[in-house]
Subunit: 324 residues, 2 copies
C-alpha cells in the first residue's frame, strides 16, 4: 500500500454491473464509473474492462494512478490464498482462474480481492450503520444470502479466507435443497428467492390474497416487495408467510449470536428494505429464539445504511484488513 | 502475570471434582491435587476449597506461590467482562456472583476464568491433538456439548467473551427442546444424553438388540458405550442409531467449517472414545454434508488426546490468551 496516498480504488464486480469508486480517507466516494458486467465473457475481457472502468473513475476524480493506494475488489467468489486462484464464480463460469495475474496486466497497484458480502459488512462497519461498533455480522438478504463477519474493525473470513459463508450454514436439518447442492442452508429459507418460491407454492390455496392483486394475477410476477406490501396491509396469507420467514431468519441469526455475540447484526439486501416492519418483530423473535438471551442480552438487528456503496467502500479499504 | 515465573496454576472446576494442576512451560503437569466439588455448597466455601486444593498442588510440586505466574480456572460458566460477575453456573446454583473477589481473598495471583470447553480446546491446541495447528474447533461430546474455538493459538469466545457456545447453535429448526430452554440445539441431538434418550425411546421396537443384552435388560442402564459397542458388533438397531447420530453431528460441524474453515476439528468427551469407529464415517459424511467441500476441501475431524488434562493445561495458560 502506498504511504501517504490518500485515495482508494474500490470495485464491486456484480453479476449485472461492475462499479468502480474512488474513496477518500473519510470513506466518501468522490467519483464513480460503471459498466454492465455481461457475465459469461472471458476473464481476459472482463478484467480488461474492470481496469478501464477503474481508470475512468480515477480520471473523473481528477486524480492519477499515483494518487491511489490500492485496488480493492469485491466479487461473489473468493481467492484461495494458497493458490492465489479465484476458486469459483458461478455467475461468471470461472473456476480456478489466476485473476490477480489478469488484473495486474492492466493496473499496477496492489490488488486485494474479497467476497462481496464481506466487503459490504466491512463498509457498513467503517462508514455505515455499524460505524459505532467494532464487531458486527451482516447478512445480505437478496437472491441469495451473503454473510460478512467483522471483528475488531477487520473482516474475518475464516482461517483460509474462504469461510464466513453464513448463507450456507445449516438452518434446517435435511431441509430444502440449496443452490449449492447442500440441504437446509440458511439461504434456502431466508433469501428473497426462498420467500417467493414458498409464496408461489401456496398462493393457489389462498384465493383473494392481496399478493395476487399486487402482481396483476400473474404468479410469475410475485416478488418480495409485493409480499411485504400485502403483509403490511394485514393480508392474512402474506402475514403468515412473513411471520414464518422471521422465525427462520431469527433461528439463523441466533446461531451467529451464540457463536460470536457481536455488538450488532446488520441486515442488507432487498429484503431489508422492509425496514422496521421486518426488524421489530425480528428483534422480538430473536430474543425468544436465542440461547441465554435473558441472562446476557442479545445484540440488536439493524438495517444497513449504505446500499451498494457499502461494497465499494469496503473493497476500497481491503488493504487495511487483508494480508497478501 | 509474573515476569520470569515459569510455572502456571491450572484449575478445572467440574460439577463432580475440582482439580488443580501445576503446569510447566512445556505444558507438562508436574503436580496435581483434587477434591470432590460437592456442588450446591456456597461460593464462599467452594472458592476457599479451590484455594486450598491449589496450595496443596503448589506444595506437592515443591514450589511456593512466588514461583507461579497466574491462576487460570476453567469452569462450566463464564464471567461477564462488563460486570466481572460469573453469569450463571447452573450446576452450582450460582447466578451473578463476584467470583474473582472471593478467589482473591485466598490467593494473591492474577486470576483468569474461562469456560471449561474453551480451556479444553486451548489445551489441545497448545499441547494435544492439535498442537501442529493454530486454528481449531473442539466439540466436547458428553452429557452436554461444549464448544471451543481457537484462532491463531488463542481462545476466541466472542466479542463479549460469552460466545462460542457451539452446543447451543441451532441444528434442527423447531427441533427437540434443549436443557437451555431453546429448541433444536446441537446439544439436544449430539450429546450422549441425546443418543441415550433416543435409544430408550425406540428400544422397545427392537427386541433382541444387543444393546439390551449389554445393559442387562435394564433400559435405565443404557449408556453411550453400550450403543457404540452394539454398533461395532453390527447390531442393526444400534448401527442405525449411530448412523443417524453421525448425520446430525456432521451437519452441526459443517456449519462451523462453513464459518471458520479451521485447520482441524477436535472431538473430545465420552462419545469421542469411540475413536475411528466414529471418526471415519463422520469424516466421510462431513465431506458430503459441507458447503463447497469438493472445491475447497474440508478439515479433518480428529480425536482429542489429553482427556481431562486439556482443561487444566488450557486453564493454566489463560494468561496468554485473555485480557483482564
Amino acid at each position: 500500500m502506498g504511504a501517504g496516498k490518500k485515495y482508494y480504488l474500490g470495485f464491486d464486480l456484480g453479476g449485472t454491473n461492475m462499479v468502480a469508486g474512488i474513496v477518500d480517507e473519510n470513506y466518501t466516494i468522490i467519483a464513480r464509473e460503471s459498466s454492465p458486467t455481461k457475465a459469461g465473457r472471458s476473464i481476459e475481457v472482463i478484467t480488461s474492462e474492470m481496469a478501464e472502468v477503474s481508470k475512468r473513475a480515477i480520471q473523473k476524480a481528477g486524480l492519477t494512478l499515483e494518487d491511489i493506494s490500492s485496488w480493492g475488489i469485491g466479487m461473489p467468489s473468493y481467492v484461495n490464498p494458497k493458490t492465489n486462484l479465484l476458486v469459483h464464480a458461478n455467475n461468471f463460469g470461472w473456476k480456478n482462474v489466476p485473476i490477480y495475474e489478469h488484473l495486474q496486466k492492466h493496473i499496477s497497484l496492489p490488488i486485494y480481492i474479497a467476497n462481496d458480502a464481506n466487503c459490504a459488512a466491512y463498509g457498513e462497519v467503517l462508514a455505515g450503520a455499524a460505524s459505532a461498533y467494532t464487531d458486527a455480522i451482516m447478512l445480505t438478504l437478496g437472491t441469495g444470502v451473503g454473510g460478512g463477519i467483522v471483528m475488531d474493525k477487520k473482516i474475518y473470513s475464516g482461517y483460509d479466507n474462504m469461510g464466513a459463508e453464513l448463507g450456507h450454514t445449516k438452518l434446517v436439518f435435511n431441509g430444502i435443497e440449496c443452490t449449492c447442492g447442500q440441504k437446509g442452508c440458511l439461504e434456502s429459507y431466508c433469501s428473497s428467492t426462498a420467500l417467493i418460491r414458498k409464496t408461489r407454492e401456496l398462493v393457489d390455496n389462498h384465493p383473494g390474497t392481496m399478493i395476487m392483486e399486487l402482481c396483476g394475477q400473474d404468479k410469475e410476477q410475485i416478488n418480495g416487495e409485493f409480499i411485504f406490501e400485502a403483509a403490511k396491509n394485514k393480508d392474512p396469507f402474506a402475514s403468515s408467510l412473513i411471520e414464518e420467514y422471521i422465525c427462520y431468519l431469527a433461528a439463523g441469526i441466533s446461531t451467529f449470536i451464540t457463536i460470536f455475540r457481536p455488538e450488532v447484526i446488520i441486515l442488507g439486501g432487498g429484503m431489508a428494505h422492509a425496514g422496521d416492519f421486518l426488524l421489530e418483530p425480528l428483534n422480538k423473535q430473536l430474543y425468544t429464539s436465542t440461547f441465554a438471551a435473558e441472562e446476557i442480552g442479545i445484540p440488536k438487528v439493524i438495517q444497513a445504511k449504505l446500499g451498494n456503496d457499502a461494497g465499494i467502500i469496503g473493497a476500497a479499504f481491503l488493504e487495511k484488513t487483508m494480508q497478501r
